[in-house]
Symmetry: C2
């Protein structure tokens, strides 16, 4: 039993954005070992066809399972949206995406807000691929039949975050362009449906508050996913290390090592990264 517990959680993303999920996991489950794979030689996935995303996701999963991870965390909304069923069907280990935990957290928040007559709507910001897939709409529909989901593709937010433009006029105007249609359509909760977006959370919250004339709760899928892993541990569906154990190790694999790598990685992880190993997919 100990053997399984000591195996790492495998986490992968199209690039480095998934490190926001790693940060949430390390805060919720500090004793867990984590093996992270960022396919940053092919980032972003969010603008590609579903067929290509499935092919890339399969390659990432193969690397992590070959290294003996005990569970797979798909820290990428686009992959969670279009390739999760495939991964679950093909792999013989627990697979957790970020969409279902995010949808569950959003439903919890919105049900606390809603009045019976006019239930609040859930707004989702995501990549083109995530929104086009309708994954959040489906995930919410499985939890409640009376809640409406409005999706808004927000493709410029990823490059803004990658550049570190997270405050100032350009990010604010861009966020406003994406958030305004959601608020006008009645969204009163916003889901950050991309692992890059937590870095823009303060700006998104401020713009939404300004547009709605009231506080708009922001749901961060990264944090919701870490909570889901903890619950799966409590239900013994994943074997976690005992909570008193020594702090877990973080090991990082990437498919590219550009000059900007360390600075960008630190931004997402909120801490210094261990040396990353470059692999070929």
């Amino acid at each position: 039993m100990n053997d399984v517990a000591d195996r790492p959680l495998g986490v992968f993303d199209s690039g480095l954005g998934g490190l926001t999920v790693v940060a949430a996991l390390r805060s919720a489950l500090p004793q867990e070992h984590i093996l992270y794979l960022g396919d940053n030689a092919r980032v972003p996935y969010g603008t590609r066809s579903a067929e290509t995303v499935v092919r890339y996701a399969r390659g990432c999963a193969r690397v992590l399972t070959a290294r003996g991870v005990k569970a797979l965390v798909v820290a990428c909304n686009t992959v969670s949206a279009v390739a999760l069923d495939m991964l679950r069907a093909e792999l013989d280990l627990p697979v957790v995406g970020v969409v279902e935990p995010g949808a569950r957290a959003a439903v919890r928040v919105v049900e606390a807000l809603a009045d019976e007559a006019t239930p609040a709507k859930i707004g989702v910001l995501g990549t083109r691929g995530t929104i086009a897939s309708g994954a959040y709409t489906r995930a919410v529909a499985q939890l409640s039949t009376r809640l409406e989901v409005i999706g808004q593709p927000a493709p410029l937010l990823v490059p803004l975050v990658e550049e570190g433009w997270i405050e100032g006029q350009v990010p604010e105007l861009t966020v406003r362009k994406y958030v305004e249609p959601l608020i006008l359509a009645g969204a009163r909760v916003l889901v950050l449906g991309c692992t890059h977006y937590p870095l823009l959370a303060p700006l998104i919250a401020a713009v939404a508050r300004d547009l709605a004339g009231a506080e708009v709760p922001i749901v961060d899928s990264a944090r919701a996913t870490a909570e889901t892993l903890k619950e799966l541990g409590n239900e013994s569906r994943i074997t976690l290390r005992a909570s008193g154990e020594s702090p877990g190790r973080l090991e990082v694999l990437v498919t590219d090592l550009p000059a900007s790598f360390e600075a960008v990685a630190r931004r997402f992880l909120g801490a210094d990264l261990p040396d990353a190993q470059q692999i070929d997919l």
Copy 2:
């Protein structure tokens, strides 16, 4: 001899931006057949390491040479900046990049402007990879020892163009942020060092004029590259079809076919695209 003339020019880019080069080629050499390859399953190259760009470029070149192209046009500034020497060393056919033609056109323009005492400087906008490589600086140095080149990485311009945000507040503020340091440092000619940027040319020209208080000539590498091909034909270094021949065919290969494909392609080509064939690299 006729056989060689009828073979297509092979043109490749990391994605669809290189279609601006195809548009310039079709206007300068309408009788030429063109085989275009866009590696849009792995776009963008501009943020990746030089090592990864070289590997991807080799894969693209292999596909085109296997299909019998008579010359290779590297319609991507990042590849032209970091992988052109490798391609020329490894391939047994003429290889033309976009950096040398762009640099040559910029030198011509700036020498017409310059007064002897204070020669004008050349400003280059490009991806991180292109600017970090110093390729434009080297190309200009080979033509003139007295001209100074100032490079400015402008990584947000590619996603803006891909989204079709080419006018309005966000693109204007973003362009201003990139162009201002160039004008302040004395640039009086701007080179569009990325095949995406011609779509932003009117905005870049307007912002530069406003900042400099005078017209700032804009050099479009796409057009300069088409002119270079024409010159190579005149010097019989590439065998072109006779200018009276029937219009050339355009054939397009891509590595991904996302939903937005046709709209984005049309934007770059300025015309409808023929059916694209998807291949695996």
